[in-house]
Amino acid sequence: MKVSHSPTTHQLQSVARTVRQLVLDMVTQSKSAHLGSSFSVVDILVALYFNAMRVFLKNPKHPNRDRLLLSKGHAGAALYAVLGVREFFNVKLLKKYLRNGTALAGHASQAAVPGVELFTGSLGHGLPIGTGMAFAGKLDKKSYRVFVVMSDGECDEGSNWEAILFAGHHQLDNLVAVVDYNKWQSFGRTKDILDLEPFAKKWRDFGWNVKECNGHDFKALTKAFAKIPFAKGKPSVLIAHTVKGRGLPYENELRSHYNSPTEEEYRLAKERIKHL
């Protein structure tokens, strides 16, 4: 999809609708899961790839590119769709999502399509790797930034807190964590399973600068990303408040994590997406 260099909120919303429809088709056709996690993070990924990040479509591995690591790898479908719509590759490729013999795995795969930085899926891996990339960027005096997109549930993983401690100590202000805070995890509400609150305070106490915003509001997202680093000498975290399954007829319900839509749900979702 062609969009201007600095797209308007209206244009970003239109991109997000296209992406959601693609993801809906991919997940429905393959009868797979994690639609809710994908729909929750779509707007964040669109804001990053279409507005905030420096990307090189012809040379996705350009050394000066901003890096995006999808640590919540189970939203792989959303990442592939955003990269496809961004024209890293022909979006038709996505028809083969999860098909035998392709590399389009359900969890984000570096081998799937151009533009995917890592193989992710096991939670708690993205932030340590991103911390290494950010450290290298500082050592080599490079201008790229590293964005790690995480789920709230994955913040249970201790490996993240090792990286959060390290990045704060080493003042990696080229590192940005974005938490897709939809307040759900595998078995239920995050507050009931392993409460993260006071969440912002935890990051702050580890030496990060924190901003919070509505993760479906493009104005708020682009405004926040424009201020990176939020404070010089500190890593930044954007806690993006989101709705799991945003745009689905059963949004903000846990079943969006597991179920593939029925025919009726597919039809309703298609309608809802048009009006987002």
Binding site: E117, F119, P128, G132, M133, F135
Partner: protein
């Protein structure tokens, strides 16, 4: 350390990461090469994840800690971040086998070879002495991709007299002999050589092979070892999944021209909760020179 220092001087991409271990070993290095040294703190999952991130940014990374903390604590990071992405990260574990015998069972390292060698893309190096260690470090640095280096402790004695042409995947002969072939890896080869001396006095002549690369294994040499009709493996590691099992796998699947028996000598399937120095714990597991010699003698008796 000498080999690594030379490397770091020559190649600015090389970095040494430590999980806050190596006290009194790394200080000079850190002063000389502040941009190529990084103490990650006691946070090995982050250290290995970062090593992957650094390697994805063009660095060649050596990540160092005591064996269990370098291999087992961050195992999934080694698998997903390093091996799946096939990155230039070398995991360096110090304290192989019972090197840290007196520190207790948490510091014993008898499962690391098994869990490292099963990972796709991973190479596993277990040098026997300082000469092999220096050669192994150089070879790993030249080689691209993941590797695991299992070290003993410092100030081990040299088993080789001089340096020699070293290549990943190639074994070397420490002692010639024709009665039996003993294949070992790591510093326990010192005890194997002593056992060979004891046996030589009884007219049993052991060929002793050092296998500093457990993966990829020098299969050609394993096959030719069958000529003696009796192959013995010795390792300071569990008999499950170590060098012995690698050798067994090659022999069991080969069409052998003549009968050959294999015996694995190593640590049986158990934790050591008693304390003692390294030789004491080795002797609790049949790994003293005398015990190795006795095992070989009884096997030869059975054969004849």
């Amino acid at each position: 350390m000498k080999a690594l220092t030379r490397l770091v001087k020559k190649d600015k991409r090389v970095m040494l990461l430590t999980g806050d271990l190596g006290f009194s070993v790394f200080e000079d290095f850190a002063r000389q090469f502040p941009k190529q040294y990084l103490n990650c703190g006691l946070a090995e999952q982050n250290m290995v994840g970062m090593a992957a991130g650094l390697a994805l940014s063009g660095k060649k990374v050596f990540a160092y800690s005591i064996v269990p903390f370098a291999t087992m604590r961050p195992f999934e990071q080694v698998r997903d971040d390093v091996c799946l992405h096939n990155l230039d990260v070398k995991i360096v574990g110090v304290g192989g086998g019972y090197s840290y015998s007196q520190l207790g069972a948490t510091h014993h390292s008898i499962e690391d070879i098994a869990i490292m060698k099963v990972l796709p893309n991973m190479k596993v190096l277990v040098p026997a002495d300082p000469i092999e260690t220096e050669l192994a470090v150089k070879a790993m640095a030249r080689d691209r991709g993941p590797a695991y280096l299992r070290l003993g402790k410092s100030k081990e004695e040299n088993l080789h007299r001089r340096t020699f042409p070293f290549a990943i995947g190639r074994s070397n002969v420490l002692r010639k002999g024709s009665s039996v072939t003993v294949i070992g890896c790591g510093p326990i080869l010192k005890n194997v050589l002593r056992a060979a001396e004891i046996l030589a006095r009884k007219n049993i002549f052991c060929k002793v092979i050092s296998m500093p690369t457990v993966k990829p294994l020098d299969e050609r040499v394993v096959m030719s070892a069958t000529k003696t009709g009796l192959v013995i493996t010795v390792e300071e590691h569990s008999v499950i999944g170590g060098l012995g099992d690698s050798v067994a796998s090659v022999l069991a699947q080969a069409a052998l021209p003549k009968k050959c028996r294999l015996k694995k000598i190593g640590v049986e399937d158990r934790f050591m909760k008693i304390v003692g120095d390294q030789e004491y714990l080795r002797s609790q597991n049949g790994l003293s020179p005398e015990q190795i010699a006795r095992s070989i003698t009884s096997l030869i008796k059975k054969r004849s």
